[in-house]
Amino acid sequence: MALPYLWLLLFFVVPFVIVLKISFSDIDLAIPPYKPLLEWVGKHSLAIKLNFDNYAFLFTDALYLHAFANSIKVAFLSTLMCLVIGYPMAYGIARAKPAARNVLLLLVILPFWTSLLLRVYAWIGLLKANGVINNVLLSLGIIHEPLTMLYTPFAMYVGIVYSYLPFLILPLYANLEKMDWQLLEAAEDLGCRPWQAFYKITLPLSRNGILAGSMLVFIPAVGEFVIPALLGGPNALMIGRVLWDEFFSNRAWPVAGAVAILLLILLVPFMMWYQSVQARETAGAR
């Protein structure tokens, strides 16, 4: 047990401390491109120099705040769309016959095991100007000019919902599968309409599954890089992409560090929430 503990401490926790440290450094034209925080001033005094400029910069340039706000909006709406598509699927799978259930579950898991990059790539082929969707619509005569879909916010939403859907279905299914369906029959016997029974019984009982699945979509989607970079076009401002560009294109490591720290501060409450939901789920299962 000590081994994984030390491993995670060294390669997961300590790195965040270093990011924090570098987010307070000056940018330098050197390798690595930042200045040390601690400096010997004279012979016997060590000076710590904390530079808040990187953070101040993030709050003065509208680009960063806009990117943060937009990332949250995109992640939130994508999570909602995943729920709308994924809940009926998880519900249907949980209520299918056991043999069919295994096959359907396998069909949900399969895309999840196939490369994310390749699945996002598939949407480029579907959405581009001479892509599959435009070709089909044109040949059916529904449209007369190709629609612009690729490199728009629409394409980005489609990509995120598509890629994260299995992450929502699986925990939700695991939760619904344990449900006692006799409760629904009892409710219907007592005169409840199916929709009413769903709203009053199924929905509240599957709360933990909904929360766990939503969190598995929302948290990584806020920092998503690949999908906005490939489908979103140059104007798709997402914070993960901003961080990537600061780091790789501008070589502004301290600014990238500050972006990472702010993003982390934003997401930690959600991660803790997720962990407590998970703990309740496993406690309930035993």
Partner: protein, 274 residues
């Protein structure tokens, strides 16, 4: 219990699966298309295997695939060892110092945005290099360490949940009969949780094989992985060879998943029969 599903639910499932599978199947279909335009079907010369030959002769992609394979195998093996130990600790010992931290540290990587993990790992490697001279530069080693850190979290979850639903009476009986804890682990516990370990290995392999973001941060010159090469190609638009790559990936994944689930179903039947 009855298994009736309303028309509404069936429609939703139908649309949902169409949404999940149409993009994947379109890649398969167009991998046989002769036209370089990829999505415009060239009926006169298709279906063809020409892009399959092109892919198998593409040095850049083959080299990258070889690096990805090496990283993925080492990563999966390491992640399984670390993840099994962590999962075992969490499932078997309800009270120990650091349990809360270990639990948090194995849950967080599951949801942590990859750009944060990637950036922080890179900065760690740079700082370590300055401090102790290791790792000298970045490449396969640093990438593998990065991959192990996040994929062991998945193995931990799988092993932990398998152990949670496992009858400890077997272990206790062995202990009563005088077996040492070490022997019990290898003779009783390990064979029972073997399916979970196998799933964990396969998942860790896949996560590493697919990873773009953490690899980009932690790799060095000359160690581009397959996803990094694919990403730089895809940024320039569609390419018929990528469709071929997707089709091959899909074939391997399907064979693997179907094979493993049939094997597990058989094993479960044998266990019940015994």
């Amino acid at each position: 219990m009855n298994y009736r599903s309303s028309f509404f639910i069936l429609t939703c499932i139908g649309f949902g699966f169409a949404f999940l599978y149409i993009p994947i199947l379109s890649m398969v279909v167009f991998s046989f298309n002769a036209s370089k335009l990829v999505t415009v079907w060239d009926g006169a010369h298709s279906p063809t295997l020409k892009w399959y030959y092109a892919l198998l002769n593409n040095e850049e992609i083959l080299d990258a695939a070889w690096i990805s394979l090496k990283v993925a195998v080492i990563n999966a093996s390491g992640a399984v060892i670390l993840g099994t130990l962590a999962g075992f600790g969490l499932a078997r010992f309800s009270q120990f110092r650091g349990r809360f931290t270990l639990n948090a540290m194995t849950t967080a990587p599951l949801v942590m945005p990859e750009v944060i993990t990637g950036l922080s790992l890179l900065l760690l490697f740079v700082a370590l290099e300055q401090l102790i001279g290791w790792p000298a530069g970045r490449g396969i080693t640093t990438m593998t360490i990065g991959h192990m850190t996040f994929s062991m979290a998945y193995v931990t979850v799988i092993v932990n949940s398998r152990l949670a639903s496992f009858d400890t009476a077997l272990e206790e009986a062995a202990m009563d009969l005088g077996a040492r804890p070490f022997k019990i682990f290898f003779v009783i516990t390990l064979p029972i949780i073997f399916p979970a370990i196998l799933s964990g290995w396969l998942l860790a392999f896949t996560l590493s094989w697919d990873d773009l973001v953490i690899s980009s941060f932690t790799s060095g010159p000359g160690s581009s992985t397959l996803p990094m090469v694919v990403f730089s190609k895809v940024r320039l638009g569609v390419s018929p060879e990528i469709n071929v790559l997707a089709t091959l990936t899909l074939t391997v994944v399907t064979a693997m998943i179907v094979g493993v689930s049939l094997w597990m179903a058989r094993r479960a039947r044998l266990d019940q029969g015994a």
